[in-house]
């Protein structure tokens, strides 16, 4: 069953939480709604659940218009951030609750609840009360309760944010496993990009109630459609700077400084100023035709990575470099980038701009460097 959102808007008093959202979520897909807090991702989920009713627009589950249908009747399963397990009921009764509401006979409800408990691996905890469970176990109960009535859609509202780091990793794989085992359409709200990128089939990145980009996780990371997407994704954050064209049409300098930049790929010719984005891991050390030259002002080693910050004119550039190198603060250093890893954005609208490759000669050189 596909889910269609059509021109969906939600206005609270004076703030627009969701603005004319139109998209389709395909059957069996796991879609992440990602974005900073206040971007409207949770509101979107509440609209899908029926707990909120939209100001305008429509929601279709398959062919059925559910826009005005109450949450009780939508046949959805939902996992809340706080799990919202009924504290007075045992685990088994919590999982049975949706079935009891559907007037499923007690015997059958119990059997189905137990089966679901096995699927989420809490079969041994059935008699406990939620208060006696750990965060991860509560999470599993919440998932079982959401799935036991065989809903059309599973909605997850920041389900991992109350768990500690290691458990979060485990549970997100669990959610993916369970989702694929049942083949249910799932929508997952998170502010954690790693979560979104790691488990979803498709990511919708939202800001100010508008979907900025929806695409497969890798695609979103590799080809951000605008500057916001580029800056939101990635850790360490992408290097962003403004470039201004010099009197020579293929030579650009950093805005606010005289620093000339040797670009391996150029923005469209008619742009006077343009925003340049390069991810820290796409920069590498080179002495031939370097893009940036400057002085290392900061070195940080985290696990297998070494992150440096380099002063280039008036800006600093972050780069992940080979940890084998012996670097010191104050060293002169130079960095290059492959032409395909350069992102240009419109200086006002932030939209992604197409690249212009330089002549073959330039290419050859960088390729040599790449293999050196």
């Amino acid at each position: 069953m596909d889910i269609h959102l059509n021109q969906l808007s939600m206005v609270f008093d004076n703030t627009t939480a969701v603005q004319e959202m139109t998209t389709t979520i395909k059957d069996g897909e796991l879609v992440s709604l990602l974005g900073p807090s206040g971007c409207g991702k949770s509101t979107t989920l509440m609209l899908l659940s029926g707990l909120y009713k939209p100001t305008s627009g429509s929601i279709h589950f398959g062919d059925q218009d559910v826009t005005k249908l109450d949450a009780e009747k939508r046949g959805i399963g939902m996992v809340f951030q706080s799990y919202a397990l009924y504290p007075h009921l045992s685990v088994l009764k919590n999982i049975m609750f949706p079935l009891r509401m559907k007037k499923v006979p007690k015997k059958e409800a119990e059997a189905r609840a137990k089966e679901m408990a096995e699927l989420v691996q809490i079969g041994h905890l059935l008699d406990r009360k939620p208060g006696q469970l750990s965060g991860g176990q509560q999470q599993r109960v919440a998932i079982a309760r959401a799935l036991v009535k065989k809903p059309n859609v599973l909605l997850l509202d920041e389900p991992l944010s109350n768990l500690d780091a290691r458990l979060r990793l485990e549970m997100r794989e669990e959610i993916r496993r369970i989702q694929q085992e049942i083949g249910i359409t799932a929508i997952f709200v998170t502010h954690d990009q790693e979560e979104a990128l790691s488990i979803s089939d498709r990511v919708m990145l939202m800001k100010d109630g508008i979907i900025q980009q929806e695409s497969a996780p890798q695609n979103m990371y590799k080809k951000p459609e605008n500057e916001f997407v580029a800056s939101f994704l990635g850790n360490p954050p992408i290097n962003l700077m403004t470039l201004t064209k010099t009197h020579e049409s293929t030579v650009y300098r950093l805005a606010d400084s005289k620093e000339i930049i040797q670009l391996p790929a150029l923005p469209p010719e008619d742009m006077e100023t343009v925003r340049l984005g390069i991810r820290a891991e796409d920069l590498f050390h080179t002495t031939e035709n370097p893009l940036f030259q400057g002085e290392i002002i900061h070195i940080e080693t985290i696990g297998r990575d070494t992150l440096i910050r380099m002063q280039v004119g008036s800006i600093t550039v972050r780069a992940l470099v080979d940890p084998e190198q012996q670097l010191q603060i104050g060293d002169a250093y130079s960095l290059g980038v492959r032409p395909g890893n350069v992102h240009y954005f419109h200086s006002e609208s932030g939209k992604r701009l197409p690249l212009q490759m330089r002549g073959g000669n330039w290419h050859a050189k960088t390729n040599v460097e790449e293999h050196a």
């Binding site: 009747k73 706080s82 504290p87 007075h88 959401a146």
Partner: protein, 296 residues
């Protein structure tokens, strides 16, 4: 926490002393004294000398038809007031807790009876209950009900008292229920909605169980208060226990014996019996409560 030392203990007791003094003088001592008094069988209150102790007061008590009437009336009163009062105040609390306009205003309105003097309330109600000019009979008249002698007929005196007491107690119960309702996280209702629970099912499966500690508290307080009913009777029936003793309750009986007939032994014995009854009910409630009350 530090270990208590002699010095800190003494200091603590010093702080407790003022309240403790008042409690001992006006509560603890009278309780003990009246308990002892119930065993005085030959007592000269002019010289405060007790000539004989015994259980005679208790046997006399249960032979007194008035005391039996008082017990019966008290029972009817408790059964008539407590469940209805709890149900009505819970219903109003649920309504006030939902998002309605002017809910603060309504909260004040419902709380007013609780803080108003019983005498003033009783005067207003004795007018409402008036058989010829009363508001209640007027409204009943609209539905074709003949005028009822609320305050002068032995049949209707108790119902009138029950109505007044329910109304009077609503405010307190509503405030307590509201506090309890506000303690129930909204997420449970959202989850229950998603789980397909109708409004009634949400009330039954979420509100009631999660409100059970409050319910428990309110029911214990209500039952104790109902057993102790006195002022309302005194004010509503102008210092009489209703027509033909129809609103004579145990506390009223105690009052009659003590202040009107100077039968101190009988009065304190009746008070002690009432204490035992309330104690028994509270114990039963504690046992039943353990099974049904859910604490987080």
């Amino acid at each position: 926490m530090q270990k208590p030392t002699w010095k800190s203990t003494l200091k603590g007791y010093l702080y407790l002393l003022p309240a403790l003094l008042i409690l001992v003088v006006f509560s603890i001592y009278p309780i003990i004294k009246s308990f002892l008094m119930s065993f005085y069988t030959d007592y000269d209150f002019f010289s405060d000398t007790v000539n004989a102790y015994g259980l005679e007061n208790f046997t006399k008590l249960f032979q007194d038809p008035n005391f039996i009437t008082a017990l019966k009336n008290t029972g009817i009163f408790v059964i008539g007031v407590v469940p209805l009062s709890i149900i009505i105040s819970l219903a109003i609390a649920v309504l006030l807790n939902s998002k309605i306009k002017l809910s603060g205003f309504f909260r004040t309105i419902y709380f007013l009876p609780f803080v108003t003097s019983v005498v003033a309330v009783a005067i207003v109600w004795s007018w409402i209950f008036h058989s010829d000019y009363g508001l209640l009979n007027y409204i009943l008249g609209l539905f074709g009900v003949d005028p009822i002698d609320w305050l002068t007929s032995p049949t209707y005196a108790m119902p009138a008292l029950i109505i007044l007491s329910i109304w009077k107690g609503l405010g307190f119960n509503i405030i307590i229920f509201l506090a309890g309702l506000q303690n129930i996280g909204n997420q449970y209702y959202l989850a229950a909605k998603v789980d397909g629970a109708s409004a009634w099912n949400r009330f039954k499966s979420i509100t009631l169980p999660l409100l059970s500690p409050t319910m428990f508290f309110v029911s214990i307080i209500s039952i104790i208060n109902a057993f102790k009913v006195f002022d309302e009777i005194f004010a509503l029936f102008n210092g009489r226990p209703g027509p033909a003793n129809s609103a004579l309750t145990v506390v009223y009986y105690v009052y009659q014996k003590f202040y009107e007939e100077w039968e101190f032994g009988l009065a304190t014995a009746a008070a002690f019996v009432l204490f035992l009854i309330i104690f028994l009910f509270t114990i039963i409630q504690l046992i039943v409560g353990k099974k049904f009350v859910h604490y987080n």
